[in-house]
C-alpha cells in the first residue's frame, strides 16, 4: 500500500502552509490586537510586528531554569500544538485534532508543575480547570459537525454545501464564549495572562524565561490560528466571506470584553462555561435530530 498516494496534495499543502505561515499570521493578529487594545486604553501601542520582535528577543536571553526537565515539557507542548494544527489543516479526523490539543496542554501544565514553584503550581491547577471548562463544548462542536456533514474529517466539513452555522448557532455561541479562555483574555485569564502584574505573578509561566518562554509564545500563535480555523469551520467554503467577517467581529468582541471586564474566580468560570455549554451546546445538539 502506498501511503503517500493516499494523501492528496492539498492536504499536504495545508499542513506545510500552516507550519510556515501560522506564526506570522498569528503574530500580525496579536500585533493588531495590541494596537487596538492600546487605542481602547488611550495609548498609542507598539508596532504591529512587536510580538515577533519580542519572541526574537526572548531567544537571545540566557537560559535560566529551575530544573533541566522543564524545557522538555514545554518543547513537547510546542510540538504538539503544531501537530494539532497540522492535523487540522491537513483535513484529518477532528476528534484526533481535539485530543492532540488536549495532549499539548497537558504538556504545558506538566511543564509548570515540574518547576515546583508555588506560583506556577497554582497556575497549573487553574489551567487544568480551564481545560475542563473548555473540553465539553469543543467535543460537542465536533459531534455537531458530524451530524450535519456525516464526516469527522475537517476537509469534508469544510466542503459541506450548507454552512454549519445555520444549523448549529447555539454551539457557535458556546464556542465563542469559551474562546476567551484560549485567548488568555479577561475575564478568563486565571492561569496566566500577557501581563505579569497579576496576583499569581505570571502563574503557569512564572518560571519560564528566555527561549522556553519564547516557545510558549510561538505555541500561542500557532494555537490562535488553529482556533480561528476551527471557528471558520462553522462557515466553511459555503460562506467563506461571511466566515472571515464573523471571525473579525468575534475577535473584536473578545478585545472589547477583555478591556471591559475584570478577572473572575475559577468557580464562576467553570460553572458558567459548563452551563453555557449545556444550554447552548447540548440543546442545539439534541435539536439537530429534529431538523
Amino acid at each position: 500500500m502506498n501511503i503517500i498516494e493516499n494523501i492528496p496534495v492539498y492536504q499536504l499543502a495545508g499542513a506545510i502552509l500552516f507550519v510556515i505561515l501560522a506564526p506570522f499570521i498569528g503574530a500580525v493578529i496579536t500585533g493588531i490586537d495590541r494596537k487596538i487594545t492600546a487605542r481602547m486604553q488611550g495609548r498609542v501601542g507598539p508596532p504591529v510586528l512587536q510580538p515577533l520582535y519580542d519572541i526574537f528577543k526572548l531567544f537571545e536571553k540566557e537560559n535560566i531554569v529551575v530544573h533541566e526537565s522543564q524545557n522538555f515539557w514545554i518543547f513537547s507542548y510546542l510540538i504538539f500544538i503544531i501537530v494539532t494544527g497540522v492535523l487540522f489543516f491537513a483535513g484529518s479526523d477532528i476528534l484526533l485534532v481535539i485530543f492532540a490539543l488536549t495532549l499539548a496542554h497537558v504538556f504545558l501544565v506538566l511543564g509548570a508543575y515540574s518547576t515546583g514553584s508555588p506560583y506556577a503550581h497554582v497556575g497549573a491547577e487553574r489551567e487544568l480547570i480551564q481545560l475542563m471548562a473548555f473540553e465539553p463544548i469543543i467535543i460537542i462542536a465536533a459531534i455537531g459537525f458530524y451530524e450535519i456533514t456525516k464526516t469527522f474529517d475537517t476537509l469534508g466539513i469544510l466542503q459541506n454545501s450548507v454552512a454549519p452555522i445555520i444549523l448549529m448557532p447555539g454551539i457557535f455561541i458556546g464556542m465563542v464564549y469559551v474562546f476567551t479562555i484560549k485567548l488568555r483574555k479577561s475575564p478568563f485569564d486565571l492561569s496566566t495572562s500577557h501581563h505579569a502584574h497579576q496576583e499569581l505573578v505570571k502563574g503557569l509561566t512564572t518560571e519560564f524565561s528566555g527561549s522556553t518562554l519564547g516557545m510558549t509564545e510561538i505555541a500561542h500563535l500557532y494555537e490562535l490560528v488553529f482556533l480561528l480555523g476551527f471557528l471558520f469551520l462553522f462557515f466553511g467554503m459555503a460562506a467563506p466571506v461571511i466566515g472571515l467577517i464573523a471571525l473579525i467581529v468575534v475577535y473584536f468582541l473578545e478585545l472589547l470584553v477583555d478591556n471591559a471586564t475584570a478577572r473572575i474566580k475559577w468557580q464562576l468560570l467553570l460553572k458558567s462555561c459548563w452551563i453555557i455549554t449545556a444550554v447552548f451546546g447540548v440543546v442545539n445538539l439534541m435539536a439537530l435530530y429534529f431538523i
Binding site: E62, V66, H67, S69, S76, M132, V201, L270
Partner: protein
C-alpha cells in the same frame, strides 16, 4: 481442547498446593513457576488457536454435571453458613433463593439438552484469557514480594498467606472458566466462585471494617447472582428450547428469545462490574491488600461483569433495554469520574476511574453495534494493562512512603524515579492521546453518534463532559509526581525484586499494546466481530491509524530532547517574591516569622464531593434500572415484542 481444560484446572491445582505449603522460599518459587506456566499456557492457547474462529468442546460426562451441582450447593451452604454466623440474614435468604431457582430449573429441564458443547472458544475468549493469564499471573508474582512486606508492616493481622495465594489462583481458575463456558449453568458456577473469592479476599484482614466491606460486596454480588439464576430459570422453563442453555445458541437467537435473559444477566453484570448504584462495593474493596485490588480491577471480578455484557451486546443492539444498560454505564462514567476529582487517596482515585472506565465499556456494549463493541473490547484491554500497572506501583510506593495519598507523592520522580516513571506511563495510558484509552474513547464517540436517536446524542454529551473531568484528575496526579521542589537523592531500592519485575513487565505491556493495537484489532477483535455480526469491516481507517502511531513515536522520541535541554542551563531557585529564607523554600512572613511553604492540589470538593455526587448518581441509575425492569416486564407480559 486440552489447553482449555488445562487453563481451568492448572491454577486450581496450584491453588490447592498453596493451601498446604508453608511460608517460605519453596512456596515463593512455586507461585512464580505456576504464574509463568499459566501465562505461557494462555499464550500457547492464542498461538495454537490463532485463526480458528469459533470452536466448541465437550467434556461429555454425566459426572461433571453432577459434580457441578455438588460444588454449587457446597458454595451456597458455605455462604449461608457464614452469613448467618455474622448475622447477615439477607444474604443467606438471597443465596437460598438463587440456589433453589437453579436446582429447580436444572432438575426440570437440563436433561433435555444433550451435553455437547459446554466449552467454547473464540477470539473474544482468547483476548480475555490473555488478560487473565498474563496480567493475573504478573499480579501473583508481585504479591509474593508485596505480601511479605505487608505482613511485616501489619503485625496485627494474622499471617494467612497460604489462604491468600489459594484464593488468588482459584480466582484465575474461575475466570478462565467464565470466559470458556458456553453452557450457561457452568458459567454461573464459575461466576459464583469469583464472588466467593472476592468476598474472602476483601475480608483478608478479618477485622471489623474488612468484614463489613466484604459482606457488602457479597450482598451486592448476590443480588446479581439472583438475577443470573432467574435468567437461567427463564431460559430453561420459558424459552421452549433446551439448546438455548448454550450461550452461542441463545445469542444467535436474537432479541425475540434472548432479550429477557440478557436483561437479567446484564443486571448481574452491572453488579459485578461495580456500576452505579452498586459501585460502593468496589470502593470498599480497597481495604484489601493491593494485589487483591489490582486483581479485582484489571483481570478478574469486574472484567467478568463487563465480559458477559459485551457477550450479550448483539442482543442489546437497537432496543430500549440495551439503551437503559448503556445509560447506566454512561452516567456511571460521568459521576464516578467526577468523584475521582475530589479524592486524594490514590487507591480511591484508581477505584473510581475503574468504575468510570467500565461504565464506558457498558455504555458501548449496551449500544451493541459492531463499532461500539469494537470500542468496548479495546477499552477492556487497555484498562486491564494500565490499571494493573498503576495499582502495583501505588502499592509499592505505599510501602516505602507509608501513605497512599497523592499529596505525599510530591516529587516522587526524584525519590523513586523508576516507579514514578512507570506510574507516568500508566496514567498516560489511561487518558492521553494517542495512548490506549484515548483510542478507545475516540472509537466510543464514533460509535455513540450513530446510536439510537436521541439517546446517542445524550451519550455523546455525557462523554464530552466526562472527558474534560478525566483530564483534570489524571493530569494533576501526573503533576504531583514530577513536581520537584528541592534536590533529593533517589532511594537505593524502590521495591522488592518480584514487585519490580511485575511493574516493569506491565509497563512494557502498556507500551506494547499501544504500539500494536492495530494488530490486536485486525487479528483478534475484527474476526470476532465478523463472526458475531456476519460482516467484516475495518473500523479504523488507515490514515487515522498512521496518525496515531506517528504521534506515539513522537512521544517516545521526545525525551531525547532532554539531551539538548539538559545542557548549558543556569539553574536558579524558584521565584519566591523576594522573600525566601532558605533552600527549603520557606519564606519570611510578617513580623519576621518564618513560614513553611505548602503546595496542594485542587480537589474541588464543593462541586465534586463524594457523598453528594454518589447520591445523585445512585438515584439516577436506580431509576434507569427500574425502567429497565418495567420494560422487561412489559415484554414478558406480551405487551410488546421487543422495543
Amino acid at each position: 481442547m486440552d489447553i482449555l481444560i488445562f487453563l481451568i484446572l492448572f491454577p486450581l491445582i496450584a491453588a490447592l498446593l498453596m493451601l498446604v505449603l508453608p511460608n517460605g522460599g519453596l512456596r515463593d518459587s512455586i507461585v512464580k513457576i505456576s504464574a509463568v506456566v499459566t501465562a505461557v499456557a494462555s499464550l500457547y492457547l492464542f498461538v495454537t488457536t490463532y485463526g480458528n474462529g469459533l470452536s466448541f468442546y465437550t467434556i461429555g460426562s454425566e459426572l461433571t454435571g453432577t459434580l457441578m451441582i455438588a460444588i454449587e450447593v457446597a458454595i451456597a451452604l458455605f455462604i449461608i453458613g457464614i452469613s448467618v454466623k455474622f448475622k447477615h440474614y439477607l444474604i443467606a435468604v438471597l443465596v437460598a433463593i438463587q440456589t433453589a431457582a437453579i436446582l429447580y430449573a436444572e432438575n426440570f429441564a437440563v436433561s433435555h439438552a444433550a451435553l455437547s458443547q459446554e466449552l467454547f472458544l473464540d477470539e473474544f475468549s482468547v483476548i480475555m484469557a490473555l488478560i487473565i493469564g498474563i496480567i493475573g499471573s504478573l499480579i501473583c508474582v508481585y504479591a509474593v514480594g508485596y505480601m511479605k512486606s505487608y505482613q511485616d508492616h501489619h503485625k496485627e493481622i494474622k499471617d494467612r498467606r497460604p489462604l491468600f495465594f489459594f484464593l488468588m489462583f482459584l480466582f484465575l481458575s474461575a475466570m478462565f472458566g467464565i470466559v470458556f463456558s458456553n453452557h450457561i449453568v457452568w458459567l454461573f458456577l464459575f461466576w459464583e466462585i469469583t464472588t466467593l473469592c472476592s468476598f474472602l479476599l476483601i475480608g483478608y484482614a478479618r477485622d471489623e471494617i474488612a468484614w463489613k466491606n466484604a459482606f457488602w460486596a457479597l450482598l451486592l454480588n448476590t443480588l446479581g447472582g439472583v438475577a443470573f439464576a432467574f435468567s437461567i430459570m427463564f431460559i430453561l422453563l420459558f424459552s421452549g428450547n433446551a439448546e438455548y442453555i448454550y450461550l452461542n445458541n441463545l445469542i444467535a437467537a436474537g432479541p425475540a428469545v434472548a432479550l429477557i435473559p440478557a436483561a437479567l444477566i446484564g443486571f448481574a453484570g452491572l453488579t459485578k462490574s461495580a456500576q452505579m448504584p452498586f459501585s460502593s462495593w468496589l470502593v470498599g474493596a480497597m481495604i484489601a491488600p493491593t494485589p487483591v485490588s489490582a486483581l479485582l480491577h484489571s483481570s478478574t471480578m469486574v472484567k467478568a461483569g463487563v465480559y458477559v455484557i459485551v457477550r450479550f451486546a448483539p442482543v442489546f443492539e437497537g432496543n430500549l433495554i440495551g439503551i437503559m444498560i448503556s445509560l447506566v454505564g454512561a452516567f456511571t462514567f460521568l459521576f464516578a469520574s467526577a468523584i475521582a476529582i475530589s479524592q486524594s487517596n490514590a487507591k480511591k482515585v484508581l477505584a473510581y476511574s475503574t468504575i468510570a472506565n467500565l461504565g464506558l465499556v457498558v455504555a458501548c456494549a449496551g449500544i451493541g453495534t459492531q463499532e461500539a463493541v469494537w470500542a468496548a473490547i479495546l477499552l477492556i484491554i487497555f484498562h486491564a494493562v494500565a490499571k494493573s500497572l498503576l495499582f502495583l506501583s501505588v502499592g509499592s510506593v505505599e510501602h516505602k512512603k507509608h501513605s497512599r495519598d497523592i499529596e505525599d507523592m510530591s516529587g516522587l520522580i526524584a525519590t523513586m524515579p523508576k516507579i514514578a516513571t512507570m506510574m507516568l506511563i500508566g496514567i498516560a495510558g489511561m487518558f492521553l492521546a494517542p495512548f490506549g484509552m484515548l483510542i478507545s474513547k475516540w472509537a466510543t464517540i464514533h460509535a455513540f453518534v450513530n446510536a439510537l436517536p436521541p439517546f446517542g446524542m445524550l451519550l455523546v454529551a455525557i462523554i464530552a463532559y466526562g472527558s474534560g473531568i478525566t483530564v483534570f484528575f489524571w493530569a494533576k496526579w501526573m503533576g504531583k509526581l514530577i513536581e520537584v521542589r528541592t534536590k533529593s537523592e533517589p532511594l537505593k531500592k524502590e521495591a522488592s525484586g518480584q514487585e519490580m519485575t511485575a511493574i516493569y513487565a506491565l509497563g512494557g505491556l502498556t507500551v506494547i499494546t499501544c504500539l500494536f493495537f492495530p494488530l490486536i484489532s485486525s487479528e483478534l477483535i475484527e474476526p470476532y466481530l465478523g463472526e458475531v455480526y456476519g460482516t467484516a469491516s475495518h473500523l479504523l481507517s488507515l490514515n487515522n491509524m498512521i496518525i496515531m502511531i506517528m504521534m506515539l513515536v513522537l512521544i517516545v522520541l521526545l525525551p531525547l530532547s532532554l539531551l539538548h535541554f539538559g545542557k548549558g542551563r543556569t539553574i536558579k531557585q524558584q521565584y519566591m517574591c523576594a522573600r525566601p529564607t532558605g533552600a527549603d523554600m520557606s519564606f519570611s512572613g510578617s513580623m519576621g516569622i518564618k513560614k513553611d511553604l505548602e503546595m496542594s492540589n485542587y480537589y474541588l470538593e464543593e462541586y465534586f464531593g463524594e457523598e453528594k455526587i454518589a447520591k445523585a448518581g445512585n438515584l439516577l441509575t436506580i431509576i434507569i434500572i427500574a425502567i429497565l425492569f418495567i420494560l422487561a416486564a412489559m415484554i414478558l407480559s406480551g405487551m410488546v415484542m421487543f422495543i
